[in-house]
Protein backbone atom coordinates (compact mmCIF):
# COMPACT_ATOMS: atom_id res chain seq x y z
CA UNK A 1 0.00 0.00 0.00
CA UNK A 2 1.24 3.47 -0.81
CA UNK A 3 0.84 6.55 1.37
CA UNK A 4 1.14 4.65 4.64
CA UNK A 5 2.21 7.94 6.23
CA UNK A 6 -1.32 9.22 5.69
CA UNK A 7 -2.79 6.71 8.12
CA UNK A 8 -3.89 7.55 11.63
CA UNK A 9 -2.76 5.63 14.68
CA UNK A 10 -5.87 3.44 14.99
CA UNK A 11 -5.91 2.36 11.34
CA UNK A 12 -2.19 1.67 11.29
CA UNK A 13 -2.39 -0.30 14.54
CA UNK A 14 -5.19 -2.45 13.18
CA UNK A 15 -3.24 -3.08 9.96
CA UNK A 16 -0.12 -4.03 11.93
CA UNK A 17 -2.08 -6.44 14.07
CA UNK A 18 -3.74 -7.95 11.00
CA UNK A 19 -0.36 -8.38 9.33
CA UNK A 20 -1.34 -6.04 6.47
CA UNK A 21 1.74 -3.87 6.90
CA UNK A 22 4.88 -3.65 9.00
CA UNK A 23 6.33 -0.96 11.22
CA UNK A 24 9.34 -0.85 8.90
CA UNK A 25 7.06 -0.01 5.96
CA UNK A 26 5.18 2.62 7.95
CA UNK A 27 8.42 4.15 9.18
CA UNK A 28 10.02 4.21 5.73
CA UNK A 29 6.94 5.95 4.33
CA UNK A 30 7.15 8.63 7.02
CA UNK A 31 10.92 9.10 6.63
CA UNK A 32 10.44 9.59 2.90
CA UNK A 33 7.64 12.11 3.45
CA UNK A 34 9.81 13.96 5.97
CA UNK A 35 12.72 14.20 3.53
CA UNK A 36 10.41 15.72 0.92
CA UNK A 37 9.03 18.29 3.34
CA UNK A 38 12.02 20.40 4.35
CA UNK A 39 10.07 23.45 3.14
CA UNK A 40 7.79 23.04 6.16
CA UNK A 41 10.77 23.10 8.55
CA UNK A 42 9.03 20.78 11.01
CA UNK A 43 11.57 18.02 11.75
CA UNK A 44 14.60 19.94 12.99
CA UNK A 45 16.55 16.88 14.16
CA UNK A 46 15.83 13.78 12.13
CA UNK A 47 16.56 10.40 13.70
CA UNK A 48 16.15 7.84 10.89
CA UNK A 49 18.60 5.34 12.42
CA UNK A 50 16.77 5.28 15.75
CA UNK A 51 13.47 5.06 13.87
CA UNK A 52 14.48 2.06 11.76
CA UNK A 53 15.98 0.28 14.76
CA UNK A 54 12.79 0.76 16.78
CA UNK A 55 10.60 -0.20 13.81
CA UNK A 56 12.44 -3.53 13.46
CA UNK A 57 12.12 -4.14 17.20
CA UNK A 58 8.41 -3.33 17.02
CA UNK A 59 7.86 -5.75 14.16
CA UNK A 60 9.56 -8.48 16.17
CA UNK A 61 7.36 -7.63 19.14
CA UNK A 62 4.17 -7.65 17.06
CA UNK A 63 5.17 -11.06 15.70
CA UNK A 64 5.21 -12.45 19.24
CA UNK A 65 1.73 -11.08 19.90
CA UNK A 66 2.99 -8.60 22.52
CA UNK A 67 1.86 -5.37 20.93
CA UNK A 68 0.43 -2.47 22.93
CA UNK A 69 -1.60 0.06 20.94
CA UNK A 70 1.34 2.33 20.06
CA UNK A 71 3.63 -0.54 19.05
CA UNK A 72 5.28 0.13 15.70
CA UNK A 73 3.62 3.50 15.13
CA UNK A 74 5.94 6.30 13.90
CA UNK A 75 5.57 9.60 15.76
CA UNK A 76 7.37 12.93 16.05
CA UNK A 77 8.58 14.33 19.38
CA UNK A 78 8.48 18.03 20.19
CA UNK A 79 11.97 19.44 20.78
CA UNK A 80 10.95 20.34 24.36
CA UNK A 81 11.19 16.66 25.39
CA UNK A 82 14.63 15.49 26.45
CA UNK A 83 15.58 12.46 24.38
CA UNK A 84 18.66 10.50 25.33
CA UNK A 85 21.62 11.11 23.03
CA UNK A 86 19.51 13.20 20.63
CA UNK A 87 19.60 17.01 20.41
CA UNK A 88 16.99 18.53 22.73
CA UNK A 89 17.19 22.27 22.38
CA UNK A 90 13.72 23.63 23.16
CA UNK A 91 14.30 25.54 19.89
CA UNK A 92 16.77 27.80 21.71
CA UNK A 93 20.32 28.81 20.87
CA UNK A 94 21.16 28.54 24.54
CA UNK A 95 20.78 24.74 24.38
CA UNK A 96 22.78 24.39 21.16
CA UNK A 97 24.48 21.01 21.08
CA UNK A 98 22.73 19.74 24.22
CA UNK A 99 22.30 15.98 24.12
CA UNK A 100 20.64 14.76 27.31
CA UNK A 101 21.98 11.76 29.15
CA UNK A 102 18.41 10.82 30.01
CA UNK A 103 14.97 10.39 28.46
CA UNK A 104 11.79 12.25 29.48
CA UNK A 105 9.22 10.05 31.18
CA UNK A 106 6.59 10.67 28.48
CA UNK A 107 8.88 9.86 25.54
CA UNK A 108 10.19 6.84 27.49
CA UNK A 109 6.64 5.59 28.04
CA UNK A 110 5.94 5.97 24.33
CA UNK A 111 9.14 4.08 23.51
CA UNK A 112 8.24 1.35 26.01
CA UNK A 113 4.86 1.03 24.32
CA UNK A 114 6.72 0.42 21.06
CA UNK A 115 6.27 3.81 19.40
CA UNK A 116 8.88 4.75 16.79
CA UNK A 117 10.56 8.17 17.15
CA UNK A 118 11.12 9.82 13.76
CA UNK A 119 12.85 12.94 15.08
CA UNK A 120 12.45 16.19 16.97
CA UNK A 121 9.90 18.80 16.01
CA UNK A 122 10.13 22.56 15.66
CA UNK A 123 8.44 24.83 18.23
CA UNK A 124 8.58 28.32 19.67
CA UNK A 125 11.68 28.92 21.78
CA UNK A 126 11.05 27.42 25.24
CA UNK A 127 7.40 27.06 24.13
CA UNK A 128 6.97 30.85 24.38
CA UNK A 129 4.93 31.91 21.40
CA UNK A 130 1.74 31.34 19.45
CA UNK A 131 3.08 31.20 15.90
CA UNK A 132 6.34 29.22 15.93
CA UNK A 133 8.14 32.42 14.93
CA UNK A 134 10.41 32.61 18.00
CA UNK A 135 12.26 29.38 17.15
CA UNK A 136 16.06 29.33 16.81
CA UNK A 137 15.48 26.94 13.88
CA UNK A 138 13.38 29.48 11.99
CA UNK A 139 9.63 29.35 11.40
CA UNK A 140 7.73 26.12 11.06
CA UNK A 141 5.36 26.52 8.11
CA UNK A 142 1.79 25.29 7.89
CA UNK A 143 0.91 22.94 5.02
CA UNK A 144 -2.31 24.96 4.66
CA UNK A 145 -2.61 27.91 2.28
CA UNK A 146 -5.28 30.51 1.53
CA UNK A 147 -6.58 29.09 -1.72
CA UNK A 148 -4.01 29.73 -4.44
CA UNK A 149 -2.19 32.41 -2.45
CA UNK A 150 1.33 31.15 -1.79
CA UNK A 151 1.88 33.28 1.33
CA UNK A 152 3.30 31.14 4.13
CA UNK A 153 0.98 30.68 7.09
CA UNK A 154 1.74 29.91 10.72
CA UNK A 155 0.88 26.44 12.00
CA UNK A 156 0.35 28.12 15.37
CA UNK A 157 2.48 27.68 18.43
CA UNK A 158 4.17 26.73 20.44
CA UNK A 159 3.73 23.15 19.17
CA UNK A 160 3.78 24.42 15.57
CA UNK A 161 6.18 21.81 14.20
CA UNK A 162 4.08 19.03 15.72
CA UNK A 163 0.84 20.41 14.25
CA UNK A 164 2.33 20.98 10.81
CA UNK A 165 3.96 17.54 10.68
CA UNK A 166 0.72 15.77 11.63
CA UNK A 167 -1.39 17.85 9.21
CA UNK A 168 1.09 17.21 6.38
CA UNK A 169 1.14 13.44 7.10
CA UNK A 170 4.87 13.37 7.89
CA UNK A 171 4.11 11.24 10.92
CA UNK A 172 1.06 9.45 12.29
CA UNK A 173 0.95 11.64 15.40
CA UNK A 174 3.20 13.82 17.54
CA UNK A 175 3.74 14.94 21.10
CA UNK A 176 3.00 18.51 22.09
CA UNK A 177 3.02 20.53 25.28
CA UNK A 178 0.54 23.15 26.41
CA UNK A 179 1.18 25.95 28.90
CA UNK A 180 -1.43 28.47 27.69
CA UNK A 181 -2.84 26.82 24.56
CA UNK A 182 0.25 25.45 22.81
CA UNK A 183 -1.39 22.16 21.84
CA UNK A 184 -4.95 23.33 21.21
CA UNK A 185 -4.26 26.52 19.21
CA UNK A 186 -1.90 24.86 16.65
CA UNK A 187 -4.29 21.91 16.38
CA UNK A 188 -7.12 24.33 15.54
CA UNK A 189 -4.92 26.16 12.99
CA UNK A 190 -4.01 22.94 11.15
CA UNK A 191 -7.20 20.87 11.19
CA UNK A 192 -5.82 18.36 13.68
CA UNK A 193 -6.87 17.17 17.14
CA UNK A 194 -4.95 18.18 20.26
CA UNK A 195 -5.70 17.42 23.90
CA UNK A 196 -4.15 18.92 27.00
CA UNK A 197 -4.94 16.57 29.88
CA UNK A 198 -5.61 17.53 33.50
CA UNK A 199 -2.58 19.04 35.21
CA UNK A 200 -0.73 16.08 36.75
CA UNK A 201 -1.86 13.43 34.24
CA UNK A 202 1.39 13.39 32.28
CA UNK A 203 4.72 13.50 34.01
CA UNK A 204 6.69 16.69 33.40
CA UNK A 205 9.99 14.98 34.19
CA UNK A 206 12.50 15.50 31.40
CA UNK A 207 10.38 18.10 29.60
CA UNK A 208 12.23 21.43 29.49
CA UNK A 209 10.30 23.56 31.99
CA UNK A 210 8.59 26.81 31.00
CA UNK A 211 5.93 27.48 33.67
CA UNK A 212 5.82 24.47 35.96
CA UNK A 213 2.35 25.05 37.42
CA UNK A 214 0.81 25.23 33.92
CA UNK A 215 2.86 22.93 31.65
CA UNK A 216 1.29 19.66 30.49
CA UNK A 217 2.17 17.29 27.67
CA UNK A 218 -0.41 15.80 25.34
CA UNK A 219 -0.86 14.18 21.94
CA UNK A 220 -1.50 15.87 18.58
CA UNK A 221 -3.25 13.53 16.21
CA UNK A 222 -5.43 13.08 13.12
CA UNK A 223 -8.54 12.00 15.03
CA UNK A 224 -10.10 11.89 18.49
CA UNK A 225 -9.67 8.10 18.58
CA UNK A 226 -5.95 8.53 17.93
CA UNK A 227 -5.79 11.12 20.71
CA UNK A 228 -7.37 8.61 23.11
CA UNK A 229 -4.87 5.91 22.13
CA UNK A 230 -1.79 8.10 22.41
CA UNK A 231 -2.86 9.94 25.56
CA UNK A 232 -3.27 6.66 27.39
CA UNK A 233 0.32 5.74 26.54
CA UNK A 234 1.63 9.13 27.67
CA UNK A 235 -0.21 9.34 31.03
CA UNK A 236 0.53 7.78 34.35
CA UNK A 237 2.06 8.34 37.73
CA UNK A 238 5.76 9.12 37.90
CA UNK A 239 7.58 9.38 41.24
CA UNK A 240 10.08 11.71 39.54
CA UNK A 241 7.44 14.46 39.16
CA UNK A 242 6.04 15.45 42.55
CA UNK A 243 2.91 16.91 40.92
CA UNK A 244 2.21 13.75 38.93
CA UNK A 245 -1.12 12.25 39.96
CA UNK A 246 -1.13 8.75 41.42
CA UNK A 247 -4.35 7.75 39.67
CA UNK A 248 -5.20 4.80 37.47
CA UNK A 249 -5.22 5.59 33.75
CA UNK A 250 -8.43 4.35 32.12
CA UNK A 251 -8.69 2.79 28.67
CA UNK A 252 -9.70 6.03 26.99
CA UNK A 253 -10.41 4.44 23.61
CA UNK A 254 -12.93 2.05 25.16
CA UNK A 255 -14.87 5.07 26.40
CA UNK A 256 -15.52 6.37 22.87
CA UNK A 257 -19.15 5.41 22.39
CA UNK A 258 -20.28 8.65 20.77
CA UNK A 259 -23.28 8.62 23.08
CA UNK A 260 -23.68 12.01 24.77
CA UNK A 261 -27.43 11.89 25.36
CA UNK A 262 -28.38 13.87 28.43
CA UNK A 263 -24.90 15.37 28.87
CA UNK A 264 -24.99 18.97 30.02
CA UNK A 265 -22.81 21.16 27.79
CA UNK A 266 -22.07 24.60 29.20
CA UNK A 267 -21.92 27.60 26.88
CA UNK A 268 -20.05 30.41 28.65
CA UNK A 269 -21.38 33.85 27.81
CA UNK A 270 -18.01 35.50 28.49
CA UNK A 271 -16.50 33.73 25.47
CA UNK A 272 -18.48 35.97 23.13
CA UNK A 273 -15.63 38.44 22.70
CA UNK A 274 -15.98 41.92 21.29
CA UNK A 275 -14.68 42.06 17.77
CA UNK A 276 -14.72 38.28 17.32
CA UNK A 277 -15.05 37.42 13.61
CA UNK A 278 -18.54 36.42 12.49
CA UNK A 279 -17.12 33.14 11.21
CA UNK A 280 -16.04 32.11 14.69
CA UNK A 281 -19.50 32.93 16.09
CA UNK A 282 -21.04 30.86 13.32
CA UNK A 283 -18.68 27.94 13.91
CA UNK A 284 -19.55 27.99 17.60
CA UNK A 285 -23.30 28.11 16.84
CA UNK A 286 -22.89 25.13 14.50
CA UNK A 287 -21.06 23.25 17.25
CA UNK A 288 -23.87 23.95 19.67
CA UNK A 289 -26.40 22.65 17.16
CA UNK A 290 -24.36 19.47 16.67
CA UNK A 291 -24.19 18.83 20.41
CA UNK A 292 -27.92 19.36 20.70
CA UNK A 293 -28.70 17.11 17.76
CA UNK A 294 -26.59 14.41 19.42
CA UNK A 295 -28.87 14.57 22.45
CA UNK A 296 -26.89 16.83 24.77
CA UNK A 297 -28.51 19.59 26.74
CA UNK A 298 -27.09 23.08 26.20
CA UNK A 299 -26.86 25.22 29.31
CA UNK A 300 -25.95 28.90 29.38
CA UNK A 301 -23.27 29.40 32.00
CA UNK A 302 -21.14 32.23 33.33
CA UNK A 303 -17.40 32.15 34.02
CA UNK A 304 -17.17 35.69 35.35
CA UNK A 305 -13.39 36.01 35.68
CA UNK A 306 -12.60 34.91 32.10
CA UNK A 307 -11.46 38.40 31.13
CA UNK A 308 -8.70 38.32 33.72
CA UNK A 309 -7.21 34.99 32.66
CA UNK A 310 -4.74 36.39 30.10
CA UNK A 311 -3.41 39.15 32.36
CA UNK A 312 -3.05 36.67 35.24
CA UNK A 313 -1.28 34.26 32.90
CA UNK A 314 1.14 36.97 31.78
CA UNK A 315 2.21 37.43 35.38
CA UNK A 316 2.32 33.80 36.50
CA UNK A 317 3.91 32.22 33.39
CA UNK A 318 6.77 34.76 33.07
CA UNK A 319 7.36 34.61 36.84
CA UNK A 320 7.79 30.84 36.72
CA UNK A 321 9.81 31.09 33.52
CA UNK A 322 12.24 33.58 35.03
CA UNK A 323 12.88 31.10 37.80
CA UNK A 324 13.05 27.99 35.60
CA UNK A 325 15.30 29.64 33.02
CA UNK A 326 17.79 30.79 35.66
CA UNK A 327 19.52 27.46 35.09
CA UNK A 328 20.80 28.58 31.68
CA UNK A 329 23.98 30.15 32.92
CA UNK A 330 26.61 28.88 30.50
CA UNK A 331 28.10 26.58 33.14
CA UNK A 332 26.44 23.18 32.99
CA UNK A 333 25.08 22.76 29.47
CA UNK A 334 24.52 24.52 26.19
CA UNK A 335 25.93 27.78 24.94
CA UNK A 336 28.56 29.92 26.65
CA UNK A 337 29.50 33.31 25.25
CA UNK A 338 33.07 34.05 24.26
CA UNK A 339 34.41 36.32 26.96
CA UNK A 340 36.61 39.38 26.72
CA UNK A 341 39.80 39.75 28.70
CA UNK A 342 38.96 40.58 32.29
CA UNK A 343 35.34 39.38 32.11
CA UNK A 344 34.22 37.71 35.30
CA UNK A 345 31.39 35.32 36.07
CA UNK A 346 28.68 38.00 36.00
CA UNK A 347 29.72 39.07 32.50
CA UNK A 348 29.67 35.41 31.50
CA UNK A 349 26.08 35.01 32.68
CA UNK A 350 24.91 38.25 31.10
CA UNK A 351 26.58 37.75 27.73
CA UNK A 352 25.64 34.07 27.53
CA UNK A 353 21.97 34.78 28.24
CA UNK A 354 21.87 37.78 25.88
CA UNK A 355 23.31 35.66 23.06
CA UNK A 356 21.46 32.46 23.89
CA UNK A 357 17.91 33.68 24.52
CA UNK A 358 15.80 35.13 21.73
CA UNK A 359 13.89 38.37 22.06
CA UNK A 360 10.55 36.99 23.31
CA UNK A 361 12.23 34.75 25.88
CA UNK A 362 14.34 37.64 27.16
CA UNK A 363 11.26 39.80 27.42
CA UNK A 364 9.32 37.19 29.41
CA UNK A 365 12.24 36.40 31.72
CA UNK A 366 12.59 40.10 32.49
CA UNK A 367 8.84 40.61 33.03
CA UNK A 368 8.94 37.63 35.37
CA UNK A 369 11.93 39.06 37.18
CA UNK A 370 10.11 42.37 37.60
CA UNK A 371 6.84 40.93 38.96
CA UNK A 372 8.79 38.84 41.47
CA UNK A 373 11.11 41.64 42.56
CA UNK A 374 10.98 43.19 46.01
CA UNK A 375 8.15 45.70 46.26
CA UNK A 376 6.12 44.23 43.37
CA UNK A 377 5.72 40.61 44.45
CA UNK A 378 2.45 41.26 46.27
CA UNK A 379 1.03 43.73 43.77
CA UNK A 380 1.62 41.53 40.76
CA UNK A 381 2.51 37.94 41.55
CA UNK A 382 0.34 37.35 44.59
CA UNK A 383 -2.57 39.25 43.07
CA UNK A 384 -2.34 37.12 39.92
CA UNK A 385 -2.35 33.95 42.01
CA UNK A 386 -5.46 35.18 43.85
CA UNK A 387 -7.19 35.89 40.54
CA UNK A 388 -6.13 32.42 39.38
CA UNK A 389 -7.93 30.94 42.40
CA UNK A 390 -11.07 32.83 41.36
CA UNK A 391 -10.79 31.59 37.77
CA UNK A 392 -10.57 28.02 39.02
CA UNK A 393 -13.56 28.63 41.30
CA UNK A 394 -15.60 29.78 38.27
CA UNK A 395 -15.10 26.33 36.76
CA UNK A 396 -15.58 24.48 40.06
CA UNK A 397 -18.95 26.21 40.44
CA UNK A 398 -20.30 25.25 37.01
CA UNK A 399 -19.09 21.67 37.35
CA UNK A 400 -20.70 21.48 40.81
CA UNK A 401 -23.93 22.64 39.16
CA UNK A 402 -23.85 19.55 36.96
CA UNK A 403 -22.13 20.71 33.78
CA UNK A 404 -20.27 17.83 32.08
CA UNK A 405 -18.27 19.78 29.51
CA UNK A 406 -17.94 23.33 28.19
CA UNK A 407 -17.96 24.19 24.48
CA UNK A 408 -16.03 27.25 23.24
CA UNK A 409 -14.16 28.38 20.15
CA UNK A 410 -10.52 27.20 20.20
CA UNK A 411 -9.04 30.37 18.71
CA UNK A 412 -10.29 33.88 17.93
CA UNK A 413 -9.32 33.54 14.23
CA UNK A 414 -7.95 31.17 11.61
CA UNK A 415 -4.18 30.93 11.06
CA UNK A 416 -2.47 34.17 10.09
CA UNK A 417 0.49 34.71 7.79
CA UNK A 418 4.04 34.31 9.06
CA UNK A 419 5.41 37.80 9.70
CA UNK A 420 1.97 39.44 9.70
CA UNK A 421 2.09 40.10 13.45
CA UNK A 422 5.68 41.43 13.48
CA UNK A 423 4.69 45.05 13.88
CA UNK A 424 2.01 44.43 16.46
CA UNK A 425 2.70 44.88 20.16
CA UNK A 426 3.28 41.62 22.07
CA UNK A 427 -0.14 41.76 23.74
CA UNK A 428 -1.83 41.34 20.34
CA UNK A 429 -0.04 38.01 19.88
CA UNK A 430 -0.97 36.97 23.42
CA UNK A 431 -4.68 37.29 22.52
CA UNK A 432 -4.39 34.09 20.46
CA UNK A 433 -4.64 32.19 23.72
CA UNK A 434 -7.71 33.99 25.02
CA UNK A 435 -9.97 30.89 24.90
CA UNK A 436 -7.37 28.31 25.92
CA UNK A 437 -5.44 29.91 28.76
CA UNK A 438 -8.24 29.66 31.35
CA UNK A 439 -7.98 25.88 31.10
CA UNK A 440 -4.28 25.88 32.09
CA UNK A 441 -4.91 28.26 34.97
CA UNK A 442 -7.65 25.95 36.27
CA UNK A 443 -5.63 22.77 35.58
CA UNK A 444 -8.44 21.25 33.50
CA UNK A 445 -8.41 18.96 30.46
CA UNK A 446 -9.18 20.68 27.14
CA UNK A 447 -9.36 19.38 23.59
CA UNK A 448 -9.46 21.10 20.22
CA UNK A 449 -11.46 19.42 17.45
CA UNK A 450 -11.51 20.65 13.81
CA UNK A 451 -15.09 21.40 12.79
CA UNK A 452 -15.01 23.72 9.79
CA UNK A 453 -13.20 25.92 7.28
CA UNK A 454 -13.17 29.70 7.09
CA UNK A 455 -13.91 31.73 3.90
CA UNK A 456 -10.25 31.35 2.84
CA UNK A 457 -10.41 27.56 3.14
CA UNK A 458 -8.46 27.44 6.41
CA UNK A 459 -9.35 25.09 9.28
CA UNK A 460 -11.15 26.26 12.40
CA UNK A 461 -11.59 24.33 15.62
CA UNK A 462 -13.82 24.20 18.65
CA UNK A 463 -12.63 23.53 22.17
CA UNK A 464 -14.26 21.27 24.73
CA UNK A 465 -13.27 21.66 28.38
CA UNK A 466 -13.84 18.77 30.79
CA UNK A 467 -13.95 18.05 34.48
CA UNK A 468 -10.62 17.30 36.15
CA UNK A 469 -9.41 13.70 35.59
CA UNK A 470 -12.32 12.95 33.26
CA UNK A 471 -10.40 12.92 30.01
CA UNK A 472 -12.28 9.77 28.98
CA UNK A 473 -15.66 11.47 29.17
CA UNK A 474 -14.20 14.58 27.47
CA UNK A 475 -12.77 12.49 24.62
CA UNK A 476 -16.15 10.83 24.16
CA UNK A 477 -17.87 14.22 23.89
CA UNK A 478 -15.16 15.30 21.43
CA UNK A 479 -15.73 12.09 19.49
CA UNK A 480 -19.44 12.93 19.16
CA UNK A 481 -18.54 16.44 17.97
CA UNK A 482 -16.00 15.08 15.49
CA UNK A 483 -18.51 12.57 14.12
CA UNK A 484 -21.15 15.27 13.70
CA UNK A 485 -18.76 17.79 12.10
CA UNK A 486 -17.32 15.25 9.66
CA UNK A 487 -14.23 17.39 9.02
CA UNK A 488 -12.19 15.70 6.28
CA UNK A 489 -10.37 18.58 4.56
CA UNK A 490 -6.64 18.18 4.00
CA UNK A 491 -4.12 20.71 2.71
CA UNK A 492 -3.10 20.31 -0.93
CA UNK A 493 0.53 19.22 -1.29
CA UNK A 494 2.70 22.13 -2.50
CA UNK A 495 5.93 21.38 -0.64
Amino acid sequence: MSDLNKLGLAEARDMLRAGDTTSVELTEACLKAIDQADALNTFVHKTPEIAMERAKAADARIATGDAPSMCGLPVGIKDLFCTKGVESQAASRILEGFKPEYESTVSQQLADAGAVMLGKLNMDEFAMGSSNETSAYGNAVSPWRRGNDDAQLTPGGSSGGSASAVAADLCLAATGTDTGGSIRQPAAFTGTVGIKPTYGRCSRWGIVAFASSLDQAGPMTKSVRDAAIMLEAMCGHDPKDSTSADLAVPNFEAMLTGDIKGKKIGIPKEYHMDGMPEEIETLWAEGRAMMKAAGAELVDISLPHTKYALPAYYVIAPAEASSNLARYDGVRFGHRATLAAGDGITEMYEKTRAEGFGHEVQRRVMIGTYVLSAGFYDAYYNRARRVRALIKKDFDDVFAAGIDAILTPATPSAAFGLGEMNDEDPVKMYLNDVFTVTVNLAGLPGISVPTGLDHQGLPLGLQLIGRPWEEGDLLNTAYALESAAGFVAKPGKWW
Binding site: G330, L339, R363, Y370, R385
Partner: protein, 95 residues
Protein backbone atom coordinates in the same frame (compact mmCIF):
# COMPACT_ATOMS: atom_id res chain seq x y z
CA UNK B 1 3.12 52.32 37.08
CA UNK B 2 5.55 53.41 34.42
CA UNK B 3 8.91 51.81 33.77
CA UNK B 4 11.72 54.13 32.82
CA UNK B 5 15.09 53.39 31.28
CA UNK B 6 16.79 52.99 34.65
CA UNK B 7 14.21 50.48 35.87
CA UNK B 8 14.58 48.51 32.65
CA UNK B 9 18.33 48.44 33.19
CA UNK B 10 17.86 47.27 36.76
CA UNK B 11 15.51 44.46 35.71
CA UNK B 12 17.94 43.35 33.00
CA UNK B 13 20.70 43.27 35.60
CA UNK B 14 18.58 41.21 38.00
CA UNK B 15 17.76 38.78 35.18
CA UNK B 16 21.46 38.59 34.24
CA UNK B 17 20.76 39.50 30.63
CA UNK B 18 23.06 42.03 28.98
CA UNK B 19 21.03 44.77 27.30
CA UNK B 20 22.88 47.47 25.38
CA UNK B 21 22.27 51.03 26.54
CA UNK B 22 20.63 52.06 23.27
CA UNK B 23 18.12 49.17 23.49
CA UNK B 24 16.81 50.21 26.91
CA UNK B 25 14.18 52.79 25.89
CA UNK B 26 12.44 50.33 23.54
CA UNK B 27 12.60 47.63 26.20
CA UNK B 28 11.06 49.97 28.78
CA UNK B 29 8.28 50.73 26.31
CA UNK B 30 7.55 47.00 25.82
CA UNK B 31 7.45 46.47 29.57
CA UNK B 32 4.97 49.31 29.90
CA UNK B 33 2.70 47.82 27.23
CA UNK B 34 2.67 44.43 28.95
CA UNK B 35 2.32 45.84 32.46
CA UNK B 36 -0.48 48.09 31.22
CA UNK B 37 -2.28 44.94 30.12
CA UNK B 38 -1.63 43.30 33.48
CA UNK B 39 -3.00 46.33 35.36
CA UNK B 40 -6.52 45.03 34.63
CA UNK B 41 -6.02 42.64 37.54
CA UNK B 42 -6.49 45.59 39.88
CA UNK B 43 -10.20 45.64 38.94
CA UNK B 44 -10.75 42.27 40.62
CA UNK B 45 -11.91 42.10 44.23
CA UNK B 46 -9.56 39.55 45.77
CA UNK B 47 -10.50 40.22 49.39
CA UNK B 48 -10.22 37.05 51.42
CA UNK B 49 -8.89 34.98 48.48
CA UNK B 50 -5.75 32.99 49.15
CA UNK B 51 -3.09 32.97 46.41
CA UNK B 52 -3.20 29.61 44.63
CA UNK B 53 -0.28 27.33 45.43
CA UNK B 54 -1.44 24.11 43.77
CA UNK B 55 -4.10 23.80 41.09
CA UNK B 56 -5.03 20.28 42.16
CA UNK B 57 -5.48 19.83 45.89
CA UNK B 58 -2.81 17.34 46.80
CA UNK B 59 -0.45 16.49 49.57
CA UNK B 60 3.00 15.94 48.21
CA UNK B 61 4.20 12.39 48.55
CA UNK B 62 6.96 11.66 50.99
CA UNK B 63 9.80 9.20 50.91
CA UNK B 64 12.66 8.13 53.11
CA UNK B 65 15.38 10.77 53.30
CA UNK B 66 18.07 8.60 51.74
CA UNK B 67 20.41 8.85 48.78
CA UNK B 68 18.76 7.31 45.72
CA UNK B 69 21.09 8.45 42.98
CA UNK B 70 24.70 9.39 42.36
CA UNK B 71 28.06 8.36 40.91
CA UNK B 72 27.24 9.96 37.57
CA UNK B 73 30.01 12.54 37.39
CA UNK B 74 30.87 11.88 33.76
CA UNK B 75 27.23 12.14 32.67
CA UNK B 76 26.70 15.30 34.68
CA UNK B 77 29.73 16.97 33.09
CA UNK B 78 29.12 15.62 29.59
CA UNK B 79 27.28 18.69 28.27
CA UNK B 80 29.33 21.36 30.05
CA UNK B 81 30.88 24.04 27.83
CA UNK B 82 34.04 23.79 29.94
CA UNK B 83 34.71 20.90 32.31
CA UNK B 84 38.15 20.17 33.76
CA UNK B 85 39.40 17.54 36.17
CA UNK B 86 35.90 16.52 37.19
CA UNK B 87 34.65 20.07 37.75
CA UNK B 88 32.66 22.72 35.90
CA UNK B 89 35.10 25.47 34.94
CA UNK B 90 34.09 29.13 35.20
CA UNK B 91 35.93 32.46 35.06
CA UNK B 92 37.68 33.54 38.21
CA UNK B 93 35.08 34.32 40.92
CA UNK B 94 37.31 35.38 43.84
CA UNK B 95 39.85 38.15 43.47
Amino acid sequence: MSIDKDTAARVAKLARIKVEEDALPALAQEFNTILGFIEQLNEVDVTGVEPMTSVTPQRLKRREDVVTDGNQQAKVLKNAPDAREGFFAVPKVVE
